[in-house]
Structures are given as structure tokens and as C-alpha cells.
Symmetry: C2
């Protein structure tokens, strides 16, 4: 097996820097768009054959060193009793968002091995189809990010509803995040048992919080998930956007590897989280929309900052954008692989 | 005159920490909403009597230590030939956004003393009506933020169009930002001549850029404005959101005082920009939506971090949100003023 990605997660030497891309399967790919003409996102997630096919598209088309399960962060919402769907161009929309403590108490506990059994089936199918070409990454959402979707109910730039809930109803907030922590710990353990070889926890919107608020309202719940998964024998990645001011706290919450966006140079971010962690990132995804020469020079800068130190996984600072030329993604992966490390 | 604000801008000792709020005149105020039933935002900006009345509302209702001219960042767009309006709940929308170098070349130069004479009239009227109660702050947008509005044409979370323009058409980008720098330098000089006693430059979205991109695409143009205004004898404030990773570069571009959002504790931000600068901030505006006890304790934490060092201006990390209770804003200002400094 190509185990560069797993070796880098464990901070072991590698021949070349491993690379994968958040949202490496998605709308920027013609094959994916063709499938989406016939099926909704949720239909694809629900059907192991389809989810598996989409997961494999970038593995076949781009020389990535890891596959990431095609799924959606919000799948656990449905068995919890939160009705959601996707509104074109706006992202997820929740029909019955959480506004009061009573809404939290009405949420249902569920066994992910049953209610999300189709995700676990997808994982088993993928492991067979991948036949050890590259490792498979599973994923889930951290409690703050899950709660922010559940409370906002739609797109937000200020997260005002989420934060007001936190400040005004702290007991209900901690109840809500405790439920998400318990569910995610179980769901991710089930993904590992089904065969994923690494797990990424997305706390995508944690960077919206001040440091003291992160420490009070997010960290303890996220930590519970990492603590629960720590003995499972697979590397854990912890990712968020705009986290420059809370990077050390993110590392305290957990994760063998910390995923960072493009705002801070990679070497500074790595020094902040500590070299006892791996680091993942951190090319601005919009760079891929520009000329290929700039893609290469920006990637070179990321690799120069990583300095050949074992433990770097090349990725973007957030997901591949829908308008990205596939060709640029392919050339970027080749370029990163072409630069042999002085290990 | 209450000159606490100006003294703090110059890092001189003050009796109590001065306070004002970004968007202290706005939709959270009943008086403002009443006026907006009859006039559009742009009508209010265009009419000195109305703009002046709105500017004074928070001066009368809240014990703020500075008034900020009621106006809009994008007013210079119209005389440049960029047609814009406000779409309810979505912010500004530009009918003919900039997409190509030719669009940049078509932009018109103009004399702000003529085309934006109504803003200067508002300033003169305000200085008479304020009669030295508190100083008056003028403001304008930094080139990156102005360009991002002009290119996106509407709301964006990724600034993909702006960054693609930067990467793919760097000459046109620098031409565009050079024009904004020239216009803003002239417009802000005219505001100072008309009577504003301090100027805040909003580079609201600069925090979307990686540090190297900020240095290449934004800093030189912003610096041109600060350099042009440096000899004018009024304090200059430089503000952006999510700028933790580029704070030092922001300070390099210019500003006697650096305005920061809530993500990083105030003392760390201040140490980063250097104590030869003042610091403005940095309460999360969403805190005002929660219980008043938390408003007070969060404000206390900001003041504790400032440590009584001369040069701190209390403010939010971004504008007052429309759903904010006026009462909380009033109590917060009183609370900050109630805490006497050990100066």
C-alpha cells in the first residue's frame, strides 16, 4: 500500500510529501457533476455504491495519497430528529433548528451502527475496492460546528444565533454539545471498526470564537471525542478554518495532526501547535483558480515552510472550490510528488 | 471637549477608557429604524441633515466618547462609474462588477470635493452641531476591501473572484488598487479638511488573505493612503476582521491605532502590533446579544488585558449587530466608564 499519508500522520520519514485535498470529490469534477444530474447529494451519501464511486473518482483521476469517504457532516442530524436538506448555492438548511433548551431535550439518541449503517457499508465496500491502493479517511463534525449548523439552521456570517444560545442558555448549550460529542465518538468509532484508517474531525467554524469562548464552549466537548478515539490505533486529524488565535487550544483538544488554513505561514502554525504534532495544509484553495505557475510557486512556499520535517501532509486550507480546473488539481498533486524530500 | 478618545489615540493618559462602537448608529436603534422607513440608506448618506441626525443618535443615547460620520464605504463607487445598491439582508450589490482589465480602465477619476461634497457638508454640519461635545471620526475603505466589493459584486464567503483577479491579472489588480488608494487618500484628506478629528480606514476583509498575499496585493496600496495622511495632524486607525496572522503587516501599512476583532486576546494583539501603537477593540459583538452579566464580565476581561496602559480605545471587534438590545449597549458604555484607571 501507498502508506505515505499514514507515515506522515505518525511523523515518520516519507519519500515525498503525501497529498490529498479536502473536497477532492466534488462539483469541480465532471464525473461528479454528471452523477449529481441524476442523484441528490443525500441520495449519493445514502447509497454505498454511489458514495463509493464518488470517493474513488479523485483516487483514479488525481495522484492523491489518501481517499476520503464521500459523505456529509450533517448525516447524524436526521436520526437525531433534525430535518435538513440542501438549498442550491446556500448549503444546508434545517427545517426545525434548535432555539430552546426543550429543542435539545427532544433530540433522539441513536445507534450509528443502525441509523448510519449505510455509511459503514460504504466504508467496507471502499476498503475492498481500494484494495490497499491508498488509505481511507473517515470524518465527522466537532460539537461546536455541528451545534452551529443545528442552531443557525442556514447560512450565517456572524454565528449570532449560535453564540447567543451559548451565552444565554449555557446549560442547554453544554447539553447539546455533550450529545453531539457522545454521538460523534460512537459514530467515528464505528467508522474505524468498519475500516477507515484515519479520521478527520472538522471544527470548521471554531475560528469564529474568541479564545476564552473556545475554551469554555467548544474545547471540552471536542476533547471528549478525541479522548474516546485515542486508543483506536488510527491517526486523528483536527481541522478548522481561521484558527490562528486558537491553534494551541485546538491541539489541546486533541489530534495527532492539526489541519490549518492559509492565513498563517505553515512553519509558524506548526511551531504553535508543537512539533510533537503533524501538520496538514495549507494552500489557499483560490490559488488553484489562478495561473498554474502561481499554483506551483505557492505550493513551493508551503513545502519550503514545512522544511522537509517529517509530519507534513500537503492539503489546501479548505475544500476545493467548485470552479477549480481539474487539470490544476492534477498538476498540483504531481508537482508536490515531484519534489523529493531530503529526508 | 471630551478628548479621552483623542488622548488615547495619542497614547496619553486618560481618566477612564474611551469607548465608541463600530456601527453605533444603525438598525438596532429604534430612531434609526424609524428614519429608514422613510429614507433609504443611500438617501440618508446623501442628505447632510439626515446623515448628521443619524450620526448624533448614539451620541445622545449612549455615552460614547466619539461620533463616527454616518456614511457608507462604497459612496466613491458611484462617481467612479460603479453602480451599486443595497439588497435587503444581503448587503451591497454592484450592477456592473469589475471582471477584466478593461473594466478597471473605464473607471473614472473624480474630485471628492465635488462628487462627494455632500459628505463634506455633513462633516461641517456635524462639527457645528457637536459643538465640541465629542470628536468626530471620518472613515474610508482600504484598497483591498474596496476592490473585493467591486469585483465580487455581491456577498461572498470565499472571495474567489477577487483572489482569482489578483492572481490571474496582477497588473490590472495593482492598477485598480492604485486608483482606490489615490481616491481614498484624496477623499480622506478632504474629510480632514472639512473637520473630522480622526480617521478610521476599514480593511474589513484583509483577514481573508494569506500573509504573503497581503504583503503583495494589499499592503503597498493601503500604505500609500496612510503615508499621504500621516502629516495631517489627526490620528489614524487601521481596522480589519480576522487579522491575527497579519497584524504586524497591518501595522506596517500604517495607523496610529490598530483595531482588532475578538479572536485574539487584546494584550497579545497589542504586543504583536507593538506598544508604539494604540489598540482598539475587542469585544465580540455577539456578546451584547446575551445576558448583561456576561457583557460586563467579557468587557472586564478586555480591560484587564489592556492593563490600564495608555492607548486603549474600547470598541467591539466588528459592528453592532441589528438584533442588539440598545439597553445593553448603553449599559456597556456606562460600565466601561465606571471603571477608573490606575493611571
Amino acid at each position: 500500500m501507498n502508506d505515505r499519508f499514514l507515515r506522515a500522520c505518525r511523523r515518520e520519514p516519507v519519500d515525498v510529501t503525501p497529498v490529498w485535498f479536502m473536497r477532492q470529490a466534488g462539483r469541480y469534477m465532471e464525473d461528479y457533476r454528471a452523477l449529481r444530474h441524476r442523484y441528490s447529494l443525500l441520495q449519493i451519501c445514502a447509497e454505498p455504491e454511489l458514495a463509493s464511486a464518488v470517493t474513488l473518482q479523485p483516487v483514479d483521476l488525481i495522484e492523491v495519497d489518501a481517499a476520503i469517504l464521500f459523505s456529509d457532516l450533517l448525516l447524524p442530524f436526521t436520526p437525531m430528529g433534525l430535518d435538513f436538506d440542501f438549498v442550491k448555492g446556500e448549503g444546508p438548511s434545517i427545517a426545525n433548528p434548535i432555539r430552546h433548551a426543550a429543542d435539545v431535550r427532544r433530540l433522539r439518541a441513536f445507534d450509528p451502527r443502525e441509523a448510519l449503517g449505510h455509511v459503514l457499508d460504504t466504508i467496507k465496500l471502499l476498503r475492498r475496492e481500494l484494495a490497499n491502493r491508498v488509505p481511507l479517511i473517515g470524518f465527522g463534525g466537532a460539537p461546536f460546528t455541528m451545534a452551529s449548523y443545528a442552531i443557525e439552521g442556514g447560512p450565517s456570517t456572524t454565528y449570532a444565533k449560535t453564540k447567543t444560545f451559548m451565552y444565554a442558555q449555557p446549560d442547554a448549550w453544554h447539553d447539546l454539545c455533550g450529545r453531539f460529542a457522545a454521538i460523534m465518538a460512537e459514530y467515528l468509532a464505528a467508522q474505524i471498526d468498519a475500516g477507515v484508517q484515519a479520521v478527520q474531525i472538522f471544527d470548521s467554524w471554531a475560528g469564529q470564537l474568541s479564545r476564552v469562548d473556545y475554551q469554555e464552549f467548544a474545547l471540552p466537548h471536542t476533547k471528549r471525542i478525541f479522548d474516546a478515539l485515542a486508543g483506536k490505533g488510527v491517526p486523528l486529524i483536527h481541522f478548522g478554518v481561521g484558527t490562528t488565535a486558537i491553534l494551541r487550544d485546538l491541539a489541546t483538544a486533541g489530534g495527532d495532526v492539526i489541519g490549518v488554513d492559509w492565513r498563517q505561514p505553515l512553519d509558524e502554525a506548526w511551531a504553535q501547535v508543537g512539533h510533537d504534532h503533524g501538520i496538514q495544509g495549507n494552500l489557499d484553495p483560490t490559488v488553484l483558480l489562478g495561473p498554474i505557475e502561481r499554483v506551483f510557486s505557492a505550493a513551493d512556499e508551503v513545502l519550503r515552510r514545512a522544511g522537509g520535517r517529517p509530519g507534513h501532509i500537503f492539503n489546501l486550507g479548505h475544500g476545493v472550490l467548485p470552479t477549480t480546473p481539474l487539470d490544476h488539481v492534477q498538476q498540483l498533486a504531481k508537482h508536490v510528488h515531484g519534489l523529493r524530500l531530503k529526508a
